[in-house]
Amino acid sequence: MDLNYSEEEYAFEAKVKQFLGDKLPKRLSDKVKGNIRLTKADMEEWHSILNAEGWLATHWPAIYGGTGWTPVQMHIFEEACSAANAPRTVPFGLGMLGPVLIKYGTEEQKEHYLPRILDGTDWWCQGYSEPGSGSDLASLKTRAVREGDHYVVNGQKTWTTLGQYADWIFCLVRTDTECKPQEGISFLLIDMNTPGIEVRPIITLDGEHEVNEVFFDNVKVPVANLVGEENKGWTYAKYLLTYERTNIAGVGASLNGLEHLKVIAREQQKDGKPLIEDPYFARRMAEVEIDLDAMKTTNLRVLAAVQGGGAPGAESSMLKIKGTVIRQELNDLTRRALGPYAMPYVHEALDEGYNEPPIGPEYANPVSSDYFNNRKLSIFGGSNEIQRNIISKMILGL
């Protein structure tokens, strides 16, 4: 047992920090720090900076343009990026579709799509959930019927994150209705510009537009856009989900969130003294910090077990639950720390270029809306209840 980084790992960390110091535009880190809305162009900008460095696809093998990093290196990178307030990369192409194509795609598909993910040509979104199929994903109804050299797709996807920006959507579609639900699903890549697709916004409880409904009306999709075999899509879908879950754990985001909380708790006053000295608040903060300390190690332990690549199995469910609960607890404490100033909210103040002076402390405005928004963490990527079901079944054998 050795809990320290090796010399090479420390050197790697120094290199990452150097890179972030040199290449992360202050305009972007300021936005992330201030919780200012990132535009599509902002996200693309950071994406291309990472790509230029060859540090974009942290989960891909090197032969496909990935970093080929060890789990510890990925962890070091994620932590440093969060600490530097780098934007998070959009996961749909890099963290979800990429690994699926690498494992199950044809050579032509890999050659065509992977470079386009890296260079930012294609923005991907995830078409899994439907109005009637959330947790019970396998019951999905969006239908793809084969007619000659293409499929005709009809149905609806929902909760499609950043679908308003997407060029492509990877979809789970039903290609067979005569069998067990899991055995009639296929994994299709669909160009969002195909006639018959309509994207409608869904506004979330905090007033933001990050999710959408996507409607398919007789949408023609070439058969060449099928990933793997027809009716085997469920296997690929599940493989993707383990990647998604591990990413949602967000240890780096939590570490950064804890630092932010401490800054606020030092600045906020209670009875003329810093809030951080209040025993009630200090106790709440210490509890999350202890959880996070443990979580960091749990995360590394799980990742180390799959050293050499691949995605963790059912253990990713553990990371997802613990990771999201900690992030949500930090959001809750940050909201608490503000006292009455958690209440004022100016929607426009999160847009770039807003010039009015802040109401209360300059960090206050986004805190409560962030708390509400991050309730999503325990719902998406498979709800925390579904993760517990997976742990019960797959790890505990109950």
């Binding site: 947790s135 909760w159 409880l205 006053q269 006292g339 009455p340 109401i359 719902i379």
Partner: protein, 378 residues
Amino acid sequence: MDFNHNEDRRMLENTLSRYVREQYDFETRMEIAGTDLGYSAQKWAEMAELGIIGALFREEDGGFGGHGFDLMVVFEQLGRGIVVEPFLSSAILAGGLIAELGNETQKAMIDDVIAGGKLLAFAHGEPTSRYTLSDVTTTATKSGDGWVLNGHKSVVAGGDNADSFIISARVSGDRMDETGIALFIIDAGTDGVERRQYGTVDGYGAADVFLRDVTVKADALLGEDGGAFAAIEKATARAVLALSAEALGAMEVVKDMTLEYLRTRNQFGVPIGRFQALQHRMADLLMEVEQARSIVINAAGALDGDRLAREKAVSAAKNLIGRVGRLVAEEAIQMHGGIGMTWEFSMPHYAKRIIMLDHMFGDTDHHMERFIALSSAA
């Protein structure tokens, strides 16, 4: 013992409950909260007409209620509709202070408040005072036979539309002293009074109020010069009860909606309410909301009693409401899945209000600390 409200209060409850159901549905509420004004002058007038504001004042002050259970009945129903009109700021806080401390001339203002003609707000909290009632740094200095006020009052509920403010200021003593605090009734248009109006994340109106050499005459003083703390504490106790009852009403709605959802949302071929993992949590919600109701009843019953019992009861209520509120809001969103995250659906707006109520007049921790202190004082 009798846990039923008396006849008059049942009528009051029925009247307001019908009004909210028929005239203040969710779409109406969202429309009102989305206007620049942030409340509806017409709805406010209608509810005044129905006697809802009057129910918050005692007979001797021109109302026909004003007791703990009147506040409970009214605010529970307001919570059921997430009503944004300024009952708390105008009637309970500012109106309550005038009723408690006002001279004859000042008390005449209450009629106008009850009729819905005049909006008041209580400007007390400051950027660094958090929830501590005696933490007042705004100053009032004698000048001739009047006063000059300087300071910054923050997150004043209803401050966005108030015609007049009741402003607390220190006339003597140190920052945390309970003695040396005075109250002033000051017209919002007075020279040197500047307000920054805004909406809150849950759709209510508030303002920060800046006082720069605000000069007022002697008759602006409300109550004794330097002796306002006891009245501030009492008005706050009434506000805490009102907000706790409001949270209770909102939680009842959220609980019912969640139960309905568990019964009707199908996944894996069955209603999700068939999953024991959710059944137990729904059972917890029911239990905790009943506990919340009990603590609100306790606080309502203690509101008109002696100070120590009253303060302990309201702090107990606010602490429990804070804990249960977070549970109910978060669990309701979670058990709704994605739908629980949407603007279009009413439930999340209730959840937001419930959470934000913990930021008004003391959060869970503040009232826990206070409850412990008051218990050892007994």
